[in-house]
C-alpha cells in the first residue's frame, strides 16, 4: 500500500454550497460504509450496454 501519511494539505475551498470541511477520516468512513452496501447492485445499475459503440 502506498504511503499517504503526509497527505494533509488543505488546498482551496471545496464545491460551492458545501458549508463546512469534512474531516478526512469521516469522509473515508462514509465511502467505506456506502461501498459495502449492495455493491453488486450498483455495478449492475451502471452498466452501459455496448459501451460508446
Amino acid at each position: 500500500m502506498a504511503d499517504y501519511s503526509v497527505c494533509n494539505q488543505q488546498q482551496t475551498v471545496s464545491q460551492p454550497g458545501t458549508p463546512q470541511v469534512l474531516p478526512r477520516e469521516e469522509a473515508l468512513e462514509q465511502v467505506r460504509r456506502d461501498s459495502r452496501h449492495q455493491p453488486e447492485n450498483y455495478l449492475e445499475e451502471t452498466v452501459v450496454p455496448h459501451g460508446g459503440e
Binding site: 488546498q11 469534512l22 461501498s35 455495478l43 451502471t46 455496448h50 459503440e53
Partner: protein, 568 residues
Amino acid sequence: MATIFQRLVGLETEYAIRFRPASFFAPPTRRYQLYQELVQSLRGRLPVVRALHFKEGVFIATGGAVWFETERIASEGGLIEGSTPECRGPQQVVTWQRAQDRLLEDAAAAAQVGGEFRLLKNCRDSEDNVYGAQENYEATLADRGGLLLWRIGLVVLLPLVLLTWVLLMGMVLAILLYLALAGIACLALRLLPMDRKRLTITLLGRDLAEGRETGSPLPGWMEWLVLWGARLAGAPLAIGLLVLTHLTAFRAIRQQGLAFLVSRSILGGSGMLDSEGRFQIAEKAPAINCVVGLGGYLWDRPIFNFGHFFKAVSVETVLAPGDYAGLFRARQRLQIGIGDSNMSETAEYLRVGTTLLVLDAIEAGYLKQAPRVCRPIRAMRQICLDPQLEERVRLRRGACWTAVELQRDYLEACRAFVADQPDAPPEAREVLRRWQQTLDALEQDRSLLVGSLDWVTKRYLIERAGGEAAWSVRKKIDLRYHELSDEGYYRIWSRTGTTSTLVDDADLQRALRTPPPGTPATTRGWYIREFAGADAPLFAHWRRLVIGRGRGAKIIRLTRLGGRRPSD
C-alpha cells in the same frame, strides 16, 4: 510570431446512466425516455433548440449540446453525451465543462422519471464496456505538400463518397418498403384471434407499434442488420479515407506528439480497478488498440480518431453537400480519443492545458526533436499498469524512459517555446507551473496529489476505504467516484477541502447561462437565446443555424471567430 491558446478546443463527454425506479413494480424505463425527460428538465433551466444533426440532440444557450448517443437503441444501448461549446484556452474549457456537468446533474435530478436518475462521468463500466471522453482541437492538417495530397485524395474519393450515398439511400428506401409491407401484414393479422402486440413490435418496431416516440424507430433485429449494412456500404470509403488520413492528416502532430499522449495518463488518467483486481492509472488508455483509426467503424479504438472525417463525408455532407468543401481547408478538427473524463478540475486543466501547449509548440516547430516511442500502444499499456511510475518504455533512439521523464522532456520544450513568445498569455506560464509541480510531486511525494489527480485520489480511496474488501466493493468505489451527486465519492472527498477548485462560483454561474466569448458558440448561444420558443423554429449545428423551415428558411453560417454571415 507563434500564437498560444488561440485555437478552438472542445470536449465531448459520454455520461453513463444510473436509474433506480421508485417502485419495484414500475414498468421498465427506457434510456431514451430518460434522455427525453432530461432534455425537458433542461428546457426549464435555459433556452434549448433542436440540433440539425443525424443523431438525436439539442443545443443549449451556452452554445454546447446534449445528445442521446447510441447505435443500438432497441437493444437498450445509450448514453447521455454532453459537448462543451467551442472554447479557447484551458481555463475556459474547464469552466464550461464544469458548467455542463452541473447542468446535467441538476437536470437529471429534477427529471420527472419516477425514480433516482444519476449520471456517472466515467469511461468504463464493471463489464469493461468503454465509452467516455473525446477531445477536439483545431489544428493544421498538413503543410503544403501534405495538404495538396489530402486535397487530391478528397477529389479521388468523391466517387466512393457518391457510391456510399447511393447505397445508404438504397438502404433507406428498402427499409421504407419493408415497413410498408410489414404494416399491411400487421393490418391483415388483426383479423386473426391472437396476441398481436409482440408480433407487431417484432415486425414494425416499438415506435410504430405503440404509436409514440420511444426512440426505437426500427425493430431490434433490423437495427442490427441496418448497422451491419451501413458498415458494409461505407467500408470502401472508410478504407480509402483511412489510407488518406494515414498518409496526410496531422502527421507532424502524430509524430511529435505521440510520446506525450502515450505518457499523458499520469496527469489526466482517472484510474480504474480492472477485472483482475489490478489498479491501472487510466480507464480508456488500456483499451486503445491503434494509433490512427475511425473510432470504432473498423473495430478500432484509436489515439487519433478520424471518425469525424468519415461521418462528415459519408453522412453529414448528404444533409449539406457544401460541407465537403470545408474539408479542403488547412485547419481541421483533430480528435484525440485517449483521454479519460475527469472529476478533478486540476486533472482536466492539466490534460487540456498541456495538450494545447504541446500542439502550439509542434506547430511553431519547437518539438522536431521530440522523443519517439517504439510500439506506442504496448508502451501505453505498460505505463497504465504501473502506478509506481517506474516502468520504462523504449524509444527509437535506443534509450528507455519513464512516463515522467517523457513528460519532463515535453515540459522543457514547451517552456523554451513559451519563453520565446513575448506575447505569451499568463495562462501559458500557469500551465507550465502546474505541469512542473505535478511531475515533481509524482516523483517525490505523490500524497500531495490526492484531491488533484483523479487516479491518485481514486487509488487512495480504494486502498483506504476498500482495503481488502471484495472486488465488487472496491469496484463500486471506482465507479461511484464518478457519480455526479452529493453521494458520489469524489464529491464526498471534496468536502474535506483537499481538492483544488479552479472555477470560482461567479464564473460557473456565467458559464451556466452564456457561451464563451469570441468563438462560434458566442453567436450560436445568442441565436438560441433569442429564437428558442419563437414562432419560426431554430435548428442548430456546429457550423450553421437554420431559422424556419423549407424554402423560406434563413441560414446563418458560423465562422471560427464567431461572426455571423447570413447567406440567404
